[in-house]
């Protein structure tokens, strides 16, 4: 436990140091930050726009914006929230421009993509367990993709990025109480969507 905390604190300091170096125009710091945030930021953008090509373009635009605005960033603040807010604003502008209806309507395509690592079975699972788990994940991904953007967003920030409610409120620029009720509604919507796939039964 102590080791994990130390590691976590060490990671936090490293991020702060990179941000400070980036403010001074250090190219290596930029490289380290892009590498560090590549999976989280890409996943967040993909959850919002649901199209890999668009998410990758927005990923690049986000880092251009970071470079442009890094001097106005207060290094004592939460860099994660600031970065995700920049990405969010760009994604919303993009969605408004490209598909005005996509901010609150579901899209047929699923953003779910399975990695090679996901296909490697766990030693403790039987092939049947693994197949059932994969099926549950696919169902979950598809149900989540059917939700409106603001619900997908809050779910990915809470469960995938493991942000606290206060951080979610900061990223989405709403009061904490709104972020909380949005999370509750998104979970309820997700549950309805999952249970609708199993008429007469519950999703387990």
């Amino acid at each position: 436990m102590v080791g994990a905390t130390a590691l976590s604190l060490e990671g936090l300091v490293a991020v702060d140091a990179d941000v400070v170096r980036l403010r001074r125009g250090d190219l290596n710091a930029l490289s380290e930050l892009i590498t560090r945030y590549q999976n989280r930021l890409y996943r967040y953008l993909l959850r919002l726009v649901r199209q890999p090509a668009e998410a990758e373009d927005l990923f690049q635009q986000t880092w251009l914006k970071v470079v442009e605005k890094i001097r106005s960033f207060d290094a004592s603040r939460n860099f994660d929230a600031w970065l995700f807010t920049l990405a969010r604003n760009l994604a919303i502008d993009h969605l408004r421009r490209i598909r005005p209806q996509s901010l609150d309507e579901p899209l047929a395509d699923s953003w779910h993509s399975e990695t090679v690592a996901d296909r490697i079975p766990c030693k403790d699972d039987t092939p049947l367990d693994h197949a059932l788990a994969a099926e549950r994940r696919t169902e979950m991904s598809e149900a989540m993709a059917e939700l409106p953007m603001m619900y997908r967003e809050v779910l990915t920030l809470r469960f995938e990025d493991e942000m606290k409610i206060e951080e979610i409120a900061q990223v989405t620029a709403v009061p904490v109480s709104t972020a909380k009720s949005r999370l509750r509604r998104s979970l309820e919507q997700l549950r309805y969507a999952l249970e609708a796939r199993h008429p007469g039964g519950t999703w387990q």
């Binding site: 125009g25 190219l27 930029l30 996943r43 993509s113 549950r136 994940r137 979970l187 549950r191």
Partner: protein
């Protein structure tokens, strides 16, 4: 709204670990005595658990490199612009100092040999009241001509430097 209904609204958030410690205590206390809420909480848990286990989609392998190339170029451009701005401030300050410091020398030389700089209206009353000669107008017209030449040379140098930097950036 009854206590039971209030707690029921918190169950999804309890599974999401998004409650305050006071709310967590309330929920824990209630579900110990309410089977319906206990079952409801258990129904939320696999959903929250599955959400945490969703596979992380992987970006294209080239994305980091492409992003670094674009953002890095912008960072370099910004650093170059800042450097130019600082150099410009120093050069302008230096130019002014040099101009002001060299003015007495220039005036001494032109006063002796550059009588062509004397303006036609130099015998104005105002000019004559200053030490009995055309000191005021001669000084300012000559000073303006002197500094204008300096600024012109500086401006040409700055334009040439910018064109060269743009050319180098395009080649890079």
């Amino acid at each position: 709204m009854s206590e039971h209904d209030k707690i029921r609204e918190l169950l999804a958030l309890a599974a999401a670990d998004a409650l305050t410690s006071a709310e967590e205590r309330q929920v824990a206390e209630h579900v110990r005595s309410c089977i319906a809420c206990s079952n409801e909480l258990e129904a939320w848990r696999p959903i929250a658990s599955e959400l945490r286990r969703l596979p992380t989609p992987q970006p294209s392998p080239w994305l980091v490199q492409a992003t670094l190339a674009r953002a890095g170029a912008k960072l370099t451009e910004q650093a170059e612009r800042d450097w130019n701005r600082h150099v410009m401030i120093v050069v302008v300050a230096f130019a002014w100092l040099l101009t002001i410091a060299s003015w007495p020398v220039f005036h001494f030389v032109t006063g002796r040999f550059g009588s062509w700089l004397e303006p036609q209206f130099s015998h104005t009353q105002f000019g004559q009241t200053l030490l009995g000669r055309t000191w005021f107008s001669n000084t300012w017209i000559s000073f303006t001509a002197f500094t204008a030449l300096g600024w012109l040379a500086g401006g040409v140098a700055a334009v040439m430097l910018t064109i060269r930097q743009r050319g180098e950036r395009r080649l890079a």
